[in-house]
Symmetry: C2
Subunit: 245 residues, 2 copies
Amino acid sequence: MVQKKMVERQIGVALWRQIADRIRLSISNGDYDKTGMVPPEIKLASQFGVNRHTVRSALASLADEGLVEAIQGRGTMVRRKERLSFPISRRTRLSQGLSNQVRNIRSILLAHDELPATSEIAAALNLPLGTPLIRMDTTSAADDRPVSYATSYFPAARFPDMAEHFGRLGSITKSFAAHGLPDYIRISTEIIARHADADELATLKLSAGAIVLETVAVNADPDGVPVQFSRSRFAADRVTLKLET
Amino acid sequence: MVQKKMVERQIGVALWRQIADRIRLSISNGDYDKTGMVPPEIKLASQFGVNRHTVRSALASLADEGLVEAIQGRGTMVRRKERLSFPISRRTRLSQGLSNQVRNIRSILLAHDELPATSEIAAALNLPLGTPLIRMDTTSAADDRPVSYATSYFPAARFPDMAEHFGRLGSITKSFAAHGLPDYIRISTEIIARHADADELATLKLSAGAIVLETVAVNADPDGVPVQFSRSRFAADRVTLKLET
DNA sequence: AAAGATTTGTCCGTATGTATG
DNA sequence: ACATACATACGGACAAATCTT
């Protein structure tokens, strides 16, 4: 069975999944914005050089994600195509940056505890090894779609009630303010991308094989004294990080 | 056939590939740094709750990538594990930022042509729609491992010989200098993560299902006049982006 | 209103790839 | 290397819903 090699095929990944990825990319690129409809199955099949059934499997999985919706006789329409633009600057504030893109943002405290600083975090926060830290796991949803999942560390001596404040206020900025710190700035950020692990898949409500953007950041008070070390994971297909200079 | 559900399995991706991805992540996380050896196949099989044959398929594909090497009777050892730290600042220069991390960097011009500005690029470069642009596809390798694959656009009127210069000099910075522009700054950057498409897989020599970090950036001359629009794709498992403020 | 074209939905069968034991 | 079960991919045929002429 010879086939038109229109697609550079990968091994170990089902063809329908590769096709789904390419259609998802086209949607995100705005290729179908004109009509709001995905091209007919037959057309996609010949475009990708695969059988119509394979395209149907791909579309079925995209429909399952809620990205498209097929209607018999009419076609398949794009239901959703959004990517929140997430600003990263010296003054990175989650709710502030997203407020004009979504109706509501909800942040939840998942867990918190106290523990001694490991070498990596001690170095980042410029503290002695073993200094007591408050650790908080938080997640944020924009219009009820989870977008971020963060683990933050704060010096326990200076911010003893961080978790209580956050649980009540739902905001790092406000929790700092409640501790008498009205302003803070970001002094370093590193970004990597990788596949989500099982925990992240569950917390961010991602479908299998999804990607997370992970930022590792340090925030400091206006005098440059580090106050927070955080590891935030974003659902990669829901956000773009926008650097502001 | 019931199986221990130790792994949250994905559909549409071969199990051996999912196992390979997890082992690759463990290597990159430094989980095996102590001995430099991957655990024995039997151990991995029980850890992931799969058959030993499946683990063998996974290890074979990692060996194919050159990431590990199996030796009969001894075990499987890690051959390579690195992630380049890629600085992004107002003065982002590729070769400069990587020079202290690798021995040599080679940039190649893959293709170039001239075309009228699309609405997206015209807006970004603050030019009228349809203004002639030089487009260049370039790729860079650090110690012979491909790390980036970029498409750049330059105003053709101001930089008519960009492609020729780059082909000779192998550097955007030097090519700008050859056009009489000694300095430039980055005025905007957006970052997304997604699965690589077929073209990117081939150019960056990635294995199937790999992730790319894509940055969309605009560079400007010291007066703030845009001189370059670029879309760079980085092999996500080979780099971290480091933001500098 | 009717007929035909377009498009998605369902069913059959066959060959190959994946995973286990 | 062998046997078994299931997923993937293909091909064809026809039904059902919708749109166009």
